[in-house]
Each structure stands twice: as C-alpha cells, then as structure tokens.
Symmetry: C2
Subunit: 219 residues, 2 copies
DNA sequence: AAACTCGGAGAACAGTTGTTAACTGCATGG
DNA sequence: CCATGCAGTTAACAACTGTTCTCCGAGTTT
C-alpha cells in the first residue's frame, strides 16, 4: 500500500483514477436502473443516489443524462464491436451452416455476458432521446459497413453491387438486435436461437440465389 | 331509442359520449407528447394539462399511464390489423414482385397516415413499461400467426412445417416494424422503401429455395 | 513548502410529480 | 320529478426533480 512503484498510470496519478472510478460507478448504476425504465425517465439524482455521491457530482462527468446515455452506447457497442470483427475474421470465407451457428452464438454469448448492455441498446435504439438514438444508429451503420466489407471479400459476392451488399449486411445486423431483444424477453433461449438460426438460413439461401433472376425491370 | 333490446351499449347516452371524447383527447394528447419522449417518462399531469382538464380527471379513464399505453397499443395496432388482413386477402396467392410492392406500400402508407402511432409502437416495443411491451408483443405475434395462416393456404407452402411458416411470417412482421422505424427517421422515404423491397425480395428468394436442401442434420 | 486544481459535498431554489379527499353539477333511470 | 350515478373540479399533501452557488480538502504542480 505504501510503495510508490508500479502505478499503471505513470504521471497522471491517483487523482484521475478516482475520477474514472466514480464515472464508471455512475455508468454502472445507470445501466442497472435502466433495467426497468427508459433513459428519458432516468433521473440525475436517481443515479447519484444509487452510487452514493452528491447530485452535483454528476456534472463533473456528464453534462446531462443524454450525455451519459451516449457514453453507455460506446461502452455497450464498443466491446461488441471488437468481438464482432474477430468473429467475422475467424469465420471468414466460411459461408454455410457453421457461420450461421457462429453468428447466433456470438449474440447469445453477448446477451448472456452483458444483458444490461444488450437491453439498453435494444430499448434506446428507437427510444425517446434523440442523441442516443443517433449514436446507436451510427454505430450499427458502422457495423453494417464492416460486415458488408467482409462479404465483398468473399467469392460469393461476385456480381453483387455495393448497395446490395450493404442491404444484406443491414439485414444481418438488424436481425442481430432483434434476436438479442427476443433473448432478453424469454428465459428459455432454446426456441429463440433455433428460430434465429432458421431465419439466417433463409436469408443465406436467398443470398445464394440473388443473381439467378434479373432485377425487376427498373434499375 | 326507447326499446330495451340487445344494444351493446344499452344507454344511448350523451353522457357516455362526452366521456369517450375526453378519453380520446387524453389518448391524442399522450400520443403527441410521446413524439419526443418515452412512455415511462410521460407524466399523468403532463397529459391532463395538454388536454385542459384537471389531473384527477385522468383516473376516470385510466388507472395509470401504463394503462393508457395499453389503450394506445390497441388503437395503433387495431387499425393496422384490419388493413393488414385486407391487404393479405387482396394480394392472396400472388407471390412475387407485386405482393412485395403491396406490403411495402402498406407500411409506407401507414407511417404516412399515422406517424405518431407508428413511432409509439416502434419505441415501446422494447420500451421501459412491461405491460405495454407485452401488449405489443402479443399483437405482433397475432399478426405473425395470421400471416402464417395465409401462407399456409398458398401452393408455395407445400412441404413447409407449421413452425417454419411461423418463422417466415415473424420475419416479415419484424421487418415491417423495422421499416416503419427507418421511415420515421428519414425525410426521404425513397431509399428506405427501396432497401425494404430488396430485403423482402431476398427473403422471398430464400423462401422459394427453402426445400432445395435438407435441414442440417438435427431435426 | 506554498500555490493551485478540481472532484465532490452541502444547502437552497423554484417546479414538478402522483395521489388523496371532499365537493359540484348535470345526465340519467326509477 | 326526484334521487342516484358519475365525469370532472378544487385543494392540499409529501416527495421528488434539475440546477445554481459556495465551500472544502486532498492531489498535483512549481
């Protein structure tokens, strides 16, 4: 306790560390409170009370509740982002059943590991706080672009327009969020994952036959 | 006016008519206020103030805000339900491009006609008020069952299990809600409807080739 | 060792909230 | 035609909200 060596943050010190700790405590408390309400009804005092700090301390970390919400979006989708990219690369080139299983397992594992984060994203994606909605929308759009970029590298993508690839990717991303929400509402994950897999199979099947018939006259 | 027989509302009542008028005013005001917040942050006094009625008058119509929310679900999805059934029957047996166009047009028209209702459903589907979430979930499940029942009547459905038909129907219903939400966030409906059509085309394509290959080992 | 930063506390503010109780007046049913 | 029912009002309640201003004390810098 008394030695001065081996601080993870060299110069900045113990001061900033404590600030980050309370900031994280605020985020955690907010996330916990959001299990049973929406962000737009979450009170600043409610959060600080749960942490055990004075209401005014909130302003040292966030301008308002919407600001805290945006931070939560980054926390929730940041971790998912890395694992998503990893899974994408790991199952790369793989097209069929194994990739579907991996995709569904990714989202099942995420919901099981971070249910509060998953609930927050599903809830606030269409929620009442504009800035948070936009932050989530931007992140999911980024996800879709990355999935589309991965698809573009695969042999199945020859003949596909960039726009169609993005459309396909958005389908996967949106389905991911839907599945997460469905998982949160049930206590038996079995049927939900089963349905999710079959739906992905359906889309994958449509993907394989996308170029069979010409586009419908216009375009 | 004077006979005592079988009226669903026995008393014709100018009295009850006025009650329904204020009840509707409460629903309308709530829906308007929900454009920029979630139901869980909507205040009882806020609603009554917007209508121009005393706060306590609220209790004559609803037990609490959640109760009003459930009523809004019925109002929003009741009207959609009838037009959905009508469209389903009208485009019955039709499978391809024309049905896709009709489905997308249905949801575009609905969002344009009742944007506040559409926003409410999209927002509260995963929102912070349990009872409302459940009401929406039940309604959408009903929609899915009806779509599945229609599919079952069509020649393309031979060889499909009931479960797979429901899975397909849920895909369409969920996509409907997603499209509605996307339409609400943009001011140029063009690209959104275009993407929605292509996504439906993809699913429809997958549907046509569903029975090409056998299910993946299990089942 | 003194000067300075700055995360947090404390108190006070004007408003707001949901809910209760008792009341009023009018349409209704006997 | 009178008595009842009941939609809506008024008043009051304790509790809560976001935000401001002032202050403290410990970490940091010089």
């Amino acid at each position: 306790m008394s030695h001065t060596l081996g601080d993870p943050a060299p110069t900045p010190g113990a001061r900033q560390a404590q600030k980050l700790r309370t900031r994280q405590a605020l985020l955690d408390a907010a996330l916990r409170l959001l299990a049973e309400q929406s962000l737009s009804s979450l009170g600043l005092r409610e959060v600080t009370r749960a942490v055990g700090v004075a209401p005014t301390a909130f302003y040292r970390h966030f301008r308002d509740i919407a600001d805290l919400g945006v931070a939560l979006v980054e926390e929730a989708l940041g971790s998912l982002h890395t694992t998503l990219v990893a899974t994408l690369a790991a199952t790369g080139e793989g097209d069929g059943e194994e990739r579907i299983a991996a995709a569904v397992e990714l989202i099942v594992a995420y919901v099981r590991a971070y249910p509060a984060h998953a609930r927050f994203i599903a809830r606030e994606q269409h929620g009442g706080v504009r800035r948070v909605r936009e932050a989530i929308g931007a992140q999911l759009a980024l996800f879709a672009r990355e999935v589309a970029a991965q698809f573009a590298k695969e042999p199945e993508a020859v003949g596909w327009s960039e726009d169609d690839l993005l459309m396909l990717a958005r389908m996967y991303v949106d389905h991911m969020v839907m599945t997460a929400s469905a998982l949160l509402e049930t206590d038996d994950a079995g049927p939900v994952t089963d349905t999710a897999r079959r739906q992905l199979r359906l889309v994958s099947l449509g993907r394989r036959h996308w170029l069979d018939a010409p586009p419908p006259a216009d375009r």
